[in-house]
């Protein structure tokens, strides 16, 4: 009897280790992923997937447009941290800056994963290089955002694999820019100019070049910026839409003018919720808006009479069922009529970089190098001509400006052209105008140190190697 029992114990012992091995049946683990070409593609999809959840789905708006003279917190804003951003009373404890930091670094870690692991996969070489290039564009975009928002930030370039070495020191601003430049330059050599239909939305060579141009412009490297813009124009890949509205319509948003956009679709997990957050609240039957992210009167006034861009960007009435409903100005760029009753799920993309930006960057760079040349005028006026939308006698061509007034004119053009596209804050900061403009806009609390966001307190508490930005 005892023997049998002991045999039983002995027999079971043999297979125990097998029993205790954890084999996740429903969950992939990194050790069995990144084996095939489709794994490489799926990894890259996840990198992109970071962009349209949270990050570029409203949060980016809060620290690039809401911060400026363009955006204001409406009645739907209940979050004191957003109100603090609106009033320049923000501090290191702010859930929106937490998200800014967290979402960017999450995206970077995803990109690092692709950049490190895909090269080892046995697959089509050209596709492999392309995927790594795409990941580098996204990583560069995210670091470019971070360095402009927070200044000196930790430069993490490999995926996190263990609890070791998680406290990373801040790299210098120059080092971060160098890395961004390197990633984009690498990507330029391996990415195609365009994709076939099923791959539309991926990062292209144009995206890499355009971001490089933006980097040079930010760094006041005018010659390099001009060169890059010219390269893009000469590639003959892009052109302006006749109608500005086409940029923000689901059917046309990926054509002609789009260089790199965050892709949204009108479905539950990939919708653009900037629509619901900016729509009027309880004023139009069937349209459930929050009235949280609102345009300022300043912005509305910045549009010249007859500017097509105004009605695409800002509206104060809507026709529904033959009746006109009016409300205070709401911003309508991401309004998707198809998502009317499910207004959380707009399918309108968020443009990160479009051709009009290349034209205006080029104009700005040329002006900085040689003053307002004919070529520079032509570039700005090309953008203004489109904004007339066929009307005559409105938005006259620019002419007879000095280097300084041309600079002002381009900046203003950029404001009305790119409102709510995450451009305004960086323009104000890089041109050194932020404090003056925001003071004039009535934000008494604004201080020079506000050009950078505070490093999240939570991150400083967790990583003792970090230093807070001056002033906070």
């Amino acid at each position: 009897m005892k023997k049998i029992l002991f045999c039983l114990i002995a027999l079971t012992l043999g297979s125990c280790s097998e029993l205790l091995e954890e084999v996740p049946a429903d969950t992939l683990v990194s050790s069995n992923f990144y084996q095939t070409q489709s794994d490489a593609l799926a990894g890259m999809n996840a990198v992109y997937g970071r962009l349209n959840k949270g990050l570029y789905n409203r949060n980016f708006y809060l620290y690039t447009d809401s911060f400026t003279d363009d955006g204001a917190a409406g009645i739907g804003v209940n979050n004191p941290f957003i109100r603090a951003i609106d009033n320049f009373t923000h501090a290191p404890v702010n859930d929106r800056f937490d998200l800014a930091w967290q979402e960017h670094y999450d995206g970077i870690n995803r990109a690092n994963e692709v950049i490190e692991k895909v090269p080892a996969i046995n697959m089509d070489t050209q596709l492999r290089n392309r995927i790594v290039g795409e990941a580098k564009v996204v990583r560069a975009l995210l670091y470019f955002n971070l360095v402009r928002l927070f200044g000196s930030v930790p430069l993490v370039l490999s995926p996190t694999a263990s609890t070791e070495g998680l406290d990373v020191e801040q790299a210098s601003v120059d080092a971060v820019y160098e890395q961004v430049k390197k990633d984009l330059t690498d990507a330029e050599t391996v990415l195609p100019l365009t994709y076939s239909a099923g791959d539309v939305g991926r990062a292209t060579k144009g995206a890499a070049s355009g971001l490089l141009a933006r980097l040079y412009l930010t760094r006041n490297q005018w010659t390099l910026a001009a060169q890059k813009c010219k390269e893009i124009i000469d590639s003959k890949t892009y052109e302006l839409w006749d109608d500005y509205a086409k940029i923000f319509q689901v059917g046309t948003e990926n054509q002609k003018e789009a260089i790199f956009s965050v892709q949204f679709a009108s479905n539950v997990s990939n919708g653009n919720s900037m629509m619901i957050l900016s729509m009027p609240r309880g004023k139009v039957p069937g349209l459930t808006g929050n009235e949280a992210d609102m345009p300022t009167d300043d912005l509305v006034k910045a549009y010249e009479t007859g500017d097509r861009r105004r009605e695409v960007t800002v509206r104060n009435s809507l026709d529904v069922g033959g009746r006109t409903y009016s409300f205070t100005n709401c911003f309508f760029k991401y309004y998707d009529p198809a998502a009317f009753s499910a207004s959380g799920d707009s399918g309108v993309n968020y443009p990160v970089l479009r051709y009009a930006d290349v034209l205006l960057m080029y104009a700005e760079a040329l002006n900085e190098l040689n003053g307002p040349t004919t070529e520079a005028y032509a570039l700005v006026n090309q953008v203004r001509a489109r904004a007339r939308n066929g009307k005559t006698g409105v938005l006259p061509n620019l002419t007879g400006l000095t280097k300084d007034t041309f600079r002002d004119a381009v900046l203003n053009e950029r404001r009305v052209e790119f409102a709510f596209e995450g451009i305004r804050w960086f323009d104000l900061v890089r041109t050194g105008r932020m404090v003056a403009v925001m003071k004039a806009h009535g934000k008494a609390s604004v201080q020079p140190f506000h050009v950078l966001l505070p490093i999240p307190q939570r991150e400083i508490d967790t990583n003792r190697k970090l230093k807070q930005n001056q002033g906070y």
Binding site: L20, P24, A25, N45, T163
Partner: protein, 1041 residues
């Protein structure tokens, strides 16, 4: 393991049977011979009569009188008299009666036998079930509390865990939701773990179950979690033992740290074939309703808020004047609801086979409309002696439960649940439109009609559970017993959820349906050898070794779609939803492989030693940490058995106990040590593209949380056993906390589960049972009280972190701060200081931009500004002490039991109070808000009306959650024996009972028993639109044949 163990068991069973076949038949013949002999000499019968009396010389009715060895017996009548015929002069009569010591008397030449039975010294001879065996209570070295069927039956319990409330010292039971079948959270001697599970391990008839509601519910339902243990019928329970110290729990190793609740269900007893029918029927209602503004007061406030902010009033003066009381939405959702239970049980058997079969139906409607819980359960417990040495048996229960859930315990705003909705929805609006359809939404706020939300939403959770454990036991030697058990727990849950498109919450989705199911299969194999031996006069040893393996697989599937053309089919035809949501499937397993041993050593009934050890291997942990060993040791000294104590009469029992040991906690879910990936989606080429993103990075070092516990106890029996007292003091230190450690976001992750930090719990428990009076008026009391102090000792690199418990709607963030040196569950916020009443007060304050009528806060750091640095600890959800008191008064056949339960010194964070004190003009308020500050009411105690909804979490919203509650008051009457005899009935008892009859508390909410987050340890003591507990009145009948 699965492949190998089962055939091996088969082999073992076969061999046991083979062994048995040599000795079995012979013995059977022997035991059959006697009755045959008795029948062969019927004429020799001798008639014996007599009277059985109790210790006070009163006749004892109903005493069983049996002729030893043969199947012949009688019962005493109302006067204690009996008559029985015996076969011969060698016969022995056995007198037995519940609560009295059994007596055997040889008949000899007597024909008249008068017997006095003496009461059992129950407390000392009681057998206590401990893990993998039993011990006499007097031999216990560990800290164990017992609750018996009598006590359990006195309260109405939907699930067995509720039966623990207030009964055992150091056991805190929180009914997280009043939803019938709703979740219960239990802490034994405080919570050890921060991020890991803190619920005790349940062992039902030997089958260990960790009651993790998240793996036993499909995930389709919204609202409070349902309780997995509600699928077991609490009336099946014979006994509950709560193992508290390490000496008792170490035998459960890695699952012992949170305490162990051992549940033994009823088994048949030989010689008594009984049929019992038990039923009760009652009505439940909410304890109280919260006074709210009526329609006119509400409309006045709405206008005031708008006018104060320079906006136009919403209602005209005529409209305001026209409003009366309006709709009290609480009246619309709450109701008086029936509760009923029917149970039929058959129990009994003979010397070889015993059985207990019960079948029961329990039906409870909730006090909120469209909520209920039903359970149909059957149990079959069998024992059979194949031979004197070989026994087999089983416990098997099969049940089906079905709960209709209403959505409660949610955040406010767009997802406002039914209870919160009833508090906040405009009293100016009717429930239904003139055409009879539901009014859809409020005209001002973001809320849907709470009545429509309760009535229109399908939210059903159906559970089937089969829990069976089969055993074979063989006495290899006289002192050595082998036992093998094989069991399975199969739980299937299906959730159906549907919000129709005409409900406010279904508007944006045009109807959304979700159906999900989970199949949770756990198997168990336990093999033990038990050796009991006495030697050298007064030494005895009881040793146990064992090998066990347990494994579990949880498989779930979930489908959802929305945008339905109509609402006719509800969740039953998801294919008709035009938009298909992402489906989800899961398949997760875990396994435990364990070796265990225990030695109890008893010297002269004076010195008792226990050593226990268990080596557990768990699949949940990192590759390098699969196995761990959990040892414990205990000593006890029965001073009362020392020779020098034999001449005193004060102490009948005096025992000192001390134990130390290590136990573990493995409740972290699956795959936590692996670098798993999670799904991500994007849009490419206008189509959804699927991707995988890292969800966590690997931690191969992940291991158990270990708790070292010291316990010292004293058991005292005084006044001839009329007073029994148990006192315990303990210290628990939990190291290697399974902590979701905050890591820099630059890693791409927010937290990583690591073994970092430590926490302690220390406390004192006292339980006193006393017989206050004897004789015809009997009064007994049972009292218990427990003090536990919790403290975080170390959190690794950080010294504090916010524990969540936020409201996205109210933008209340971080109300709870976990900090080294402080207990878990402390609330962190501003110190409220009333409202500003004048501009002068504002000028002299730290809130210069405030207006009269704004809330005022204490400038804690005195720097002249109110900011985040002024937040401080403002309360604690941990009670200072908890306990219960039961008094039972019996006069003849009438018995009154009053069971009080209490908790003292805990604060509740009342989210409802924030909502009800927010005069923003979009939602209703508490009646007190009529006393809000305004120019015309400059003495107002509540804030002025303003459309600004900014909320700062402050002490204003914390309330004293102490309570004293009459958990149960029962008056019962047992019909007299002569009457019963005439009716041919063994027993009839009728009773009236009140559950939660009254509750003394300062808490302003519905009920002080709250837990918005169910079983979590981080955010205890929060109330946000929770389903309140009911007060119940019921009538019951027990019928025995």
């Amino acid at each position: 393991m699965k492949r190998n163990a089962i055939p091996n068991l088969g082999l073992l069973t076969v061999s046991l049977i083979l062994l048995n076949s040599y000795s079995g038949p012979a013995q059977t013949t022997v035991s059959n011979r006697q009755p045959v002999a008795a029948i062969s000499k019927p004429m020799a019968d001798i008639t014996v009569s007599g009277r059985v009396t109790d210790e006070n010389a009163g006749g004892l009715p109903g005493v069983s009188v049996v002729v030893k060895g043969i199947n012949r017996g009688a019962n005493t009548d109302a006067g204690g008299n009996f008559t029985i015929s015996v076969p011969d002069l060698n016969a022995v009569l056995v007198f037995s009666f519940v609560g009295y010591q059994k007596r055997e008397i040889p008949v000899g030449s007597q024909t008249q036998i008068n017997v006095t039975l003496t009461p059992d010294d129950q407390t000392l001879n009681e057998v206590v079930v401990v893990g993998y065996g039993t011990v006499k209570k007097s031999d216990l070295t560990g800290s164990v509390s017992s609750i018996n069927a009598d006590q359990i039956k006195k309260t109405v319990n939907t699930s067995l865990d509720q039966a623990l409330a207030g009964r055992a010292a150091g056991v805190q039971v929180t009914q997280a939701s009043g939803q019938p079948g709703g979740a219960v959270s239990i802490r034994i001697r405080g919570g050890n773990s921060v991020n890991g599970g803190n619920e005790p391990l349940y062992v039902v008839d030997g089958f260990p179950i960790y009651s993790d509601n998240s793996v036993s519910t499909s995930g389709a339902n919204r609202g409070p979690a349902t309780n997995a243990l509600a699928s077991l019928n609490p009336n099946d329970i014979e006994n509950i033992e709560i193992l508290k110290d390490a000496s008792a729990t170490a035998i459960y190793g890695t699952r012992g740290a949170n305490g162990v609740v051992i549940i033994t269900t009823k088994r048949g007893k030989s010689g008594q074939n009984t049929v019992d029918f038990e039923t009760y029927y009652g009505a439940q209602e909410p304890r109280r309703l919260i006074p709210l503004l009526n329609a006119r007061e509400y409309a006045t406030m709405v206008n005031e808020a708008r006018v104060n902010d320079g906006q136009a009033p919403y209602y005209t003066a005529d409209q305001v004047a026209g409003f009366g009381e309006g709709t009290n939405w609480q009246d619309e959702i709450f109701r008086s609801a029936p509760i009923q239970n029917y149970q039929l049980s058959f129990a009994g058997g003979n010397a070889k086979t015993r059985y207990a079969i019960t079948t029961s139906y329990f039906g409870q409607q909730g006090t909120i409309i469209n909520s209920d819980f039903k359970r149909l359960a059957t149990r079959i417990n069998l024992d059979h002696s194949i031979s004197d040495r070989f026994r087999v048996g089983n416990s098997l229960t099969v049940s089906r439960t079905k709960a209709n859930i209403v959505v409660t315990d949610t955040d406010g705003g767009g997802g406002t649940g039914v209870v919160l909705g009833a508090l906040l929805f405009q009293p100016t609006l009717p429930v239904r439109n003139p055409d009879g359809s539901y009014l859809n939404r409020s005209d001002l706020g973001e809320y849907g009609n709470p009545v429509a939300y309760a009535e229109q939403v399908t939210n059903i959770s159906t559970t089937f559970r089969g829990l069976g454990n089969f055993f074979a036991e063989y006495d290899i030697l006289k002192d050595l017993t082998a036992r093998v058990s094989v069991g399975a727990d199969v739980l299937f849950n299906k959730g159906d959820f549907y919000i129709p498109s005409d409900n406010f919450y279904g508007l944006s989705t045009k109807g959304v349906g979700t159906v999900a199911s989970v199949l949770n299969t756990t198997w168990l194999n336990e093999n033990t050898l038990n050796y009991r031996h006495s030697f050298a006069n007064n030494h005895s040893v009881n040793a146990l070794v064992g090998f066990t393996a347990q494994g579990s697989q949880v498989e779930s599937v979930r489908a959802s779609s929305q945008n339905f053309p109509n609402n006719i089919l509800g969740p039953n035809n998801l294919g008709s939803g035009a938009t298909v949501n992402f489906p989800n499937t899961d398949n997760r397993s875990w396994a435990l492989v364990s070796y265990l041993g225990r030695v109890n050593y008893n010297i002269a009934d004076r010195y008792l030693l226990t050593f226990t050890g268990r080596a557990d291997g768990s699949s949940r942990f990192g590759a390098g940490n699969k196995y761990a060993f959990f040892p414990s040791g205990a000593v006890a000294w029965r001073i009362s058995n020392e020779s020098f104590m034999q001449n005193q009469t004060v102490f009948q029992d005096l025992k000192l106990r001390a134990s130390v040991g290590v136990t573990g906690n493995q409740e972290i879910g699956q795959f936590q040590s692996l670098a798993t990936l999670s799904n991500a989606t994007y849009v490419l080429g206008d189509a959804v593209a699927i991707g995988y993103t890292p969800a966590r990075f690997a931690n191969p070092d992940l291991r158990w949380e270990k708790t070292v516990q010291f316990d010292a106890g004293l058991d005292v029996g005084l006044l001839k056993g009329r007073v029994n007292l148990t006192l315990d003091a303990y210290y628990k230190r939990t190291n290697d906390l399974l902590l979701a450690v905050t890591v820099p976001w630059t890693s791409g992750f927010g937290t990583s589960l690591q073994n970092i930090g430590s926490a302690e719990n220390k406390g004192i428990e006292l339980a006193i049972n006393s017989v206050n009076t004897t004789g015809s008026f009997k009064w007994t009391s049972a009292f218990n009280i427990a003090f536990n102090r919790n403290k975080i000792l170390d959190l690794g690199k950080i010294t504090e972190f916010f524990a969540g418990g936020n409201s996205g709607h109210l933008k209340v963030t971080n109300p709870s701060l976990i900090r080294v040196g402080e207990p878990i569950g402390r609330f962190y916020g501003y110190q409220a200081d009333g409202v500003f009443r004048s501009p002068e007060e504002i000028t002299n304050s730290a809130q210069k931009t405030a207006k009269p009528g704004d809330r005022r806060f204490v400038d804690v750091d005195g720097n002249g500004v109110i900011n985040a640095l002024d937040r401080t600890y403002i309360g604690s959800a941990q009670p200072k002490f908890i306990g219960g008191l039961t008094n039972t008064f019996a006069y003849k056949r009438l018995e009154l039991t009053v069971f009080l339960q209490y908790s003292y010194g805990n604060d509740i964070f009342n989210y409802n109070k924030i909502e009800l004190e927010l005069p923003a003009g979009i939602q209703n308020l508490g009646k007190d808000l009529t006393n809000r500050w305004s120019a015309s009411n400059p003495g107002g105690q509540y804030p002025r009306a303003t459309t600004n909804r900014t909320v700062e979490f402050s002490s204003q919203y914390l309330e004293d959650g102490s309570f004293l509650r009459a958990r149960n008051v029962t008056l019962g009457y047992q019909l007299p024996q002569p009457l019963l005899k005439r009716m041919g009935v063994r027993n009839i008892k009728v009773y009236a009972s009140g559950q939660n009859l009254f509750t003394v508390t300062k808490y302003s909410g519905y009920d002080p028993e709250v837990s918005r987050y169910g079983q979590t340890n981080l955010n205890i003591g929060q109330d946000y639109g929770g389903y309140p507990l009911a007060r119940t009145l019921l009538l019951g009948l027990n019928l025995g044949f």
